[in-house]
Subunit: 147 residues, 2 copies
C-alpha cells in the first residue's frame, strides 16, 4: 500500500476514535492532504474537489484543516508572502527547500538538525518544543534550465 494511503487510514482512524462523522467531503479532503502533492493551499484543495463535489464550500475545507491541525495530523506551512500551504503527509516540523522560481517545495533529509537543536539547548538554556526551518533559493531543475 502506498505511503499516502497509509496516512489516510491513520488520519481516518483518529477521526473515528474522536467520535467525528465521516462525510464524503471530509474523506476527500483528508485524501488530498494525506497525499499533499505539491503542498496544496486551501484554494488548491477546494479547486481539486470542485469536480467531485460541486457544492463543496471553502468553509468546509477551512474547517477540516483546522480540525486536522488540532489533531496534529496536518502541518501548516506559512510563507513570507502570507500564503499558507498544508502537509498532511509529514505533519511534523521538517525542513523545506522552497524554490522561488518554480515554487516547488522539497523535503530534504538533514541529519545535522538534531545536533543543532542540542547545541542551542545546551548553550542557551532554552527548551525547544518545535521549530521551523526553511531554505529559499533555486532548485536544481531551475538552475539547469536554459534562459
Amino acid at each position: 500500500m502506498s505511503d499516502y494511503k497509509k496516512r489516510s487510514e491513520i488520519i481516518i482512524r483518529k477521526l473515528r476514535q474522536s467520535g467525528l462523522k465521516m462525510t464524503p467531503q471530509r474523506l476527500a479532503i483528508v485524501n488530498v492532504l494525506a497525499k499533499s502533492e505539491g503542498h496544496p493551499s486551501v484554494e488548491d484543495i477546494h479547486a481539486r474537489l470542485k469536480k467531485e463535489f460541486p457544492t463543496m464550500s471553502l468553509a468546509t475545507v477551512y474547517r477540516n484543516i483546522v480540525l486536522l491541525k488540532s489533531l496534529g495530523e496536518v502541518l501548516e506551512l506559512g510563507f513570507p508572502d502570507g500564503s499558507n500551504r498544508y502537509d498532511g503527509n509529514r505533519p511534523f516540523p521538517h525542513p523545506h527547500l522552497i524554490c522561488i522560481k518554480c515554487k516547488k517545495i522539497l523535503d530534504p533529509d538533514l541529519d545535522s538538525l538534531e545536533k543543532m537543536k542540542k547545541e542551542v539547548e545546551s548553550e542557551t538554556n532554552f527548551r525547544i518544543l518545535s521549530h521551523r526551518l526553511d531554505f529559499f533559493g533555486i532548485c536544481s531543475a531551475c538552475l539547469s534550465e536554459k534562459v
Copy 2:
C-alpha cells in the same frame, strides 16, 4: 555611540541616498525599528509613536516598513499565528528563539548554521539564497519560574 544609533544613521543615510524625504514621522519609525526592542509589530510602533505624533496614521507605519524592507534594512518576522513583527537592528536572516510563554524573542549565535547550509547545497544541488530558522519553546527565565 550605541549600536542602534549607528543602525539609525546607516538607514537614514541610505534613505537620503535614495532621494527620499526625511519626515519627522519617517525618522521616528526608523528609530523604533533601528532599536527593535522586543521586535515590535506594526501596532506596537504605531502605539509607541502616538504620543509624539497624535495624527500618525497606521498607513504611514505600513508604508515605511514596506520601503525599509525593499531597501533591505528591515527584516519581517512572520509567525505561525499569522502575526508579523519587525527587526531593523539585524535586518538579515538569523535564527530566533521564541518563548511561547512570555513571547520574548531571543537571537542566539549558531555556528552550525553555515555548515548546515553547505550540507544542504552539496547534497541536494539547491542554491540557497535565504533562509528562516525559528525555534519555539520555553526560555530559561520562564523555565526557572515557580508555578
